[in-house]
Each structure stands twice: as C-alpha cells, then as structure tokens.
Amino acid sequence: MPDKMSTRKINSFQKQKNKQEMQKMVVSFALMIFFTLVAFALVALEIPSTYVIPLLLILAVVQVGFQFFYFMHLKDKGHEVPAQIIYGGIFVTVLVALTFTVITWW
C-alpha cells in the first residue's frame, strides 16, 4: 500500500532526526564534563584569585543551562509554558539567595 510506504518514510526520517539530536546531546554532555573539570581544577590548583567564586558560579550556570535547554529540551517548541515556569522559579531563587547572603544577620 502506498499509504504505508509513506509512513515508513516519515518513520525513517524521524529516526534520522532523533539520531542527529542524540549527537547534539553527546556534544553538550562533553561540554558539561569539560566545565566540571575546569571548575574542579580551579579549586584543586588553589588558584589565588578573587575571581574564582564568580567563575565557579558562571560555570555552574552555563552547565545547568545545557542541562535545561538540551537534556530537558527547554529550547524546543512546545516548551514555552515550562520555560516560563522555570524562569519564575529562577527569579524567586535569585531573590532567596540574595536574601540569605545579604540581609540575614542578628
């Protein structure tokens, strides 16, 4: 049946797309490992710098970005509402982190 043929074709097309996506995932995994290595190296080598802590935080944020946008597909279509919700959560997180580092004392 010609109908079935065409669905098979879409199927193989989908398979191809899934494969390409998986390759992107592996690349982003490699980057995540790289960022982790840099972060641990910064601490292990005891680099004496005031920039170490901000740098560590930036590395963490970038890595988490990969986790969210690639591994969890937040960049994809159909993820608009989840993305908004996570941004909301991040907004509150920033507020909370600021609070407990800046205005909590005796």
């Binding site: 079935k4 669905t7 098979r8 199927n11 989908q14 398979k15 899934n18 996506e21 998986m22 995932m25 592996v26 995994f29 995540m32 490992i33 982790t36 972060a39 641990f40 910064l42 601490v43 292990a44 170490v52 802590i53 560590l56 935080l57 590395l59 963490a60 890595q63 988490v64 986790q67 969210f68 591994f71 969890m72 159909g78 993820h79 509402v81 989840p82 919700i85 996570i86 909301g88 959560g89 991040i90 509150v92 997180t93 909370v96 982190a97 609070t99 407990f100 580092t101 909590t104």
Partner: protein
C-alpha cells in the same frame, strides 16, 4: 478515539510520551512541579549560605570537604543524566529493550552515587563527629545535601518500579509518559547537584 494505548510501529508518533492527552498533562505537570522544587531547593541553599560559617567550634567547610569523592559523585550523576537521555532516545525509536537497558544503567549509576553519599556522611560522622545536631552548619549541610539524596532515593524507587512493572508489557502510549517524566525529574536532580558541588563543596574549599 481509540481506547487502547498500543503503539503502531508503522505510525510511530514523534514523541510517544506526549501523544495522549494524559501524557501532555503529565509532562506539563511535572515541569510545573519542578518550578516549585526550584524554590524548595533555593530555600535550602539560602539556609545553608546563611549558616555555613556557624560551625560552633566544630569542623569548618575547609577542614571537612575533600575533592576526590565529590568529583567521583559528580561524574556518576552527570553520566547517569546522559544515560537517561539515551533511554529516551530509544523510546522515541520504539526500541523498548534498549530503553530498559539504558534506564537500568541510569539506576545503577544512581545507586553508586547514593553509596558514595552514604559513605561520605558516615565518614563525617565517625571521623569528625560532624552531625546534624553538632552545629547550625551541620544542620544546614545535612538538610540540603540530605534533601537532594532523598530525591535520588525517590527517583531510584520510581524507575525501578517502572522498569519491573513494564518489563513484560513493553512500551505503549500509557507508560511512555511515565518514563519521560522520570527522565525529566532525574535531570533536575542533576541540576541541583551541579549547584551543590559548586556552592557547597567547591566554594566551601575556596576560602
């Protein structure tokens, strides 16, 4: 509308986890739950940040933490995140056996991570006398890292139950959303861990 949830391999939906209405609900519901979890961990992180220097004469962050074990745990958990991506990849290709295999590897990595964590806690308690009750720092540390560990335990129970339940049945549109929501949850555990190893361990070792 059809009543059964089996997958027609010749007409595979692009994403079996979101092919049914129920699947769409679960997908969005889990994401929204993760939004709430973000705030939950934010509050635990905040508490830790406020109390991390309140060692009350006990061991401080620099005396306590060691890089090696944390690095190992990080690698285990990051890798388990990738293996769960592989599992979902095979789900989209309707290859149930490979999906189960990769989910199984994910679970094993998770168990290894958990074993390291238990060892770490035992080490702190026995060798340093550093407990949940010894100082405000101790309370905050165990609360934050322990909550994360609790999430790992929950995630592991979840995937093990799923794998056993569906071992004979194979993949269908009813259980695909369940695997997918687990994978999202597992990635989120990884996200939290990235901040734990950065904010708690690495920043705790830099003075």
């Amino acid at each position: 509308m059809s009543h059964d949830h089996s997958i027609d391999p010749n007409n595979m939906p692009k994403d079996p986890a979101k092919a049914t209405m129920e699947g769409k609900h679960k997908f969005l519901g889990l994401w929204i739950f993760l939004g709430g979890e973000t705030v939950l961990f934010a509050c635990l992180f905040g508490t830790y940040l406020a109390l991390k220097d309140s060692a009350a004469g006990g061991p401080t962050t620099q005396e306590l933490y060691g890089l090696g074990l944390v690095f190992l745990m990080t690698m285990l958990l990051l890798t388990s995140s990738l293996t769960s991506v592989y599992a979902i990849y095979h789900m989209k290709n309707n290859d149930f056996k490979k999906m189960q295999l990769w989910m199984g590897i994910t679970a094993l990595l998770g168990i290894a991570f958990l074993a390291c964590e238990i060892y770490e806690f035992a080490h702190y308690i026995h060798d340093y006398g550093f407990t949940f009750r010894s100082s405000a720092f101790g309370s905050a540390f165990y609360a934050l890292v322990g909550f994360h560990g609790g999430h790992v335990v929950f995630g592991l129970s979840w995937i093990i139950v799923l794998m056993i339940r569906n071992a004979k049945r194979g993949l269908d549109l009813y259980n695909a959303p369940k695997y997918n929501t687990f994978a999202l949850y597992w990635h989120f555990i990884d996200v939290v861990w990235v901040f734990i190893f950065t904010v708690v361990y690495l920043m705790g070792m830099v003075s």
